[in-house]
């Protein structure tokens, strides 16, 4: 009796052990991809850090030596690998849409620093050398150059991510033109004006004079139409301009001007086309002799 009870308990515990083992196994199988992504991201971060660490001595050897000999506290020196530990701990809470490059970014601007500890570390990493700069002018410019390089590198990675996330262009290769109400109004106005000019005005003056008047009128009327916020697309050109140091504001203004010129050109083409077409139709009907 007792042995039967003991065997029953044993089989029950075995099956529960088996059950737990099975649950663990399934959990491992389900999370294997997440774990692999973390490992790959982790490995990439480490390799980037290693590359960065290996680059810095080759490019700014004396500068790096100065950094290393500075009296860092033991916490900061031990926290040298810490950018990745808080990264790893925050990965579970953070969304996985961030690119591995961003996760591994050493700069605080573009990553989501967990709890600000990363920023403090890197702030310390940067601010301490600044305190020593007054004493050493020679290392000032290379340090600034390195920081500039790092900031540009991060800009480039961010822009690369934006380019990758941007929708691919249409197969025709041309940009998709959006038809907002004001644009439709302009085009219809150009068509109507062309017909009117062909019918009544063209005998007396050039056809481009009414067109210019129309464009001036559009400039004044544009404020009465709802302004459609056009999302500025990150293209290779804008990314290259940004990285070359041109401010984003200048690029936006230039793109806006270019867009306005494109609108005027489209109006002109529609106007001229309608004019010629109406002229040919009138000639065909026979209402006008050539």
């Amino acid at each position: 009796m007792e042995s039967a009870e003991a065997s029953e308990e044993k089989t029950g515990s075995l099956s529960s052990a088996q059950r737990r083992a099975e649950i663990r196994r399934r959990k491992l199988l389900m999370n294997s991809e997440d774990r692999m992504n973390r490992i790959v991201g982790f490995a990439k971060n480490e390799s980037e850090n290693d590359v960065g660490a290996s680059l810095r001595p080759t490019e700014h050897g004396f500068h790096l030596d100065l950094e290393r000999t500075e009296p860092w506290s033991s916490s900061s020196s031990s926290q040298r690998p810490s950018p990745f530990l808080p990264e790893a701990s925050a990965l579970g809470s953070r969304s996985h849409s961030a690119t591995p490059e961003r996760r591994g970014s050493p700069l605080p601007d573009y990553s989501e620093p967990p709890g600000g500890s990363l920023e403090d570390d890197l702030g310390g990493l940067r601010q301490r050398p600044r305190g020593e700069r007054a004493s050493d002018d020679v290392s000032g410019s290379p340090r600034r150059g390195l920081q500039k390089y790092l900031s540009r590198f991060d800009d480039a990675m961010k822009l690369r991510g934006q380019l990758a996330n941007e929708k691919p262009p249409q197969d025709g290769g041309s940009e998709p033109e959006e038809f907002d109400p004001f644009r439709i109004f302009r085009l219809i106005g150009s068509i109507l004006l062309a017909i009117f000019v062909r019918a009544f005005v063209c005998k007396y003056l050039s056809i481009f004079a009414p067109f210019l008047t129309l464009e001036l009128a559009y400039m004044g009327l544009s404020k009465y139409f709802p302004k459609v916020e056009k999302k500025t697309q990150t293209t290779v050109l804008t990314a290259a301009l940004l990285l070359s140091g041109i401010p984003a504001e200048v690029i936006n203004r230039s793109m806006d001007t270019y867009r306005r010129m494109g609108d005027v050109f489209a109006d002109l083409c529609v106007y001229f086309f309608t004019f010629i077409l109406s002229n040919e139709i009138l000639l065909l009907i026979g209402l006008e002799t050539p």
């Binding site: 099975e22 033109e177 038809f179 529609v270 001229f272 010629i276």
Partner: protein, 170 residues
């Protein structure tokens, strides 16, 4: 001098080119489907994988582990085969798309060059020159005919208008 319907011929050509350009992706996918021979095999493999997964879901892993594991291996093998198949199919589709695009652009370039060659010295239409002052020379380029509309100007205008029209329609 200008032929009566030269402007219409140029307009029609531009319209045709833009229309075909908008349909290029459909044409390339249609051609790749025609060229592809083993399209049914892929759907059969997918159905097989689905059936095996259904069978696997009905099996208790603890009770019939060997059968479960065997099915798992079969599913993995079939999935890998399917992935390889899909990869080759997409590569073939990309190649076909590339070929269709190249052929189209060559044909379009040939058509445009032939139009420009034909109407190099003849304007597509003529209007009184004072109508299009002060840019009559620019509009008439390269014909040099006073009041004429040159092929280049007309091509640019037609291209823009047709693009806008097709975009509005689509």
């Amino acid at each position: 001098m200008a032929a009566g319907y030269a402007w219409f011929l140029v307009l029609g050509s531009v319209f045709l080119c833009n229309l075909i350009k908008s349909l290029l992706s459909s044409i390339s996918s249609f051609l790749s489907k025609m060229v592809q021979k083993d399209a049914e095999q892929e759907s059969e493999m997918r159905a097989e994988v689905q059936d095996m997964k259904k069978e696997q879901a009905s099996i208790s892993m603890m009770d019939e582990f060997a059968r479960y594991a065997r099915l798992e291996r079969k599913i993995n093998k079939m999935t890998d085969k399917l992935k390889t198949h899909v990869k080759s199919r997409t590569a073939q589709q990309a190649k076909m798309k590339w070929v269709v695009n190249i052929v189209f652009y060559i044909l379009q370039a040939a058509l445009m060059i032939s139009l420009i060659w034909k109407y190099y010295s003849d304007p597509v239409t003529v209007v009184p020159s004072r109508w299009i002052a002060p840019v009559e020379r620019l509009v008439a380029f390269p014909t040099g005919v006073a009041g004429g509309v040159g092929i280049t100007c007309w091509l640019v205008v037609c291209n823009k208008v047709v693009t806008l029209g097709l975009h509005a329609v689509s």
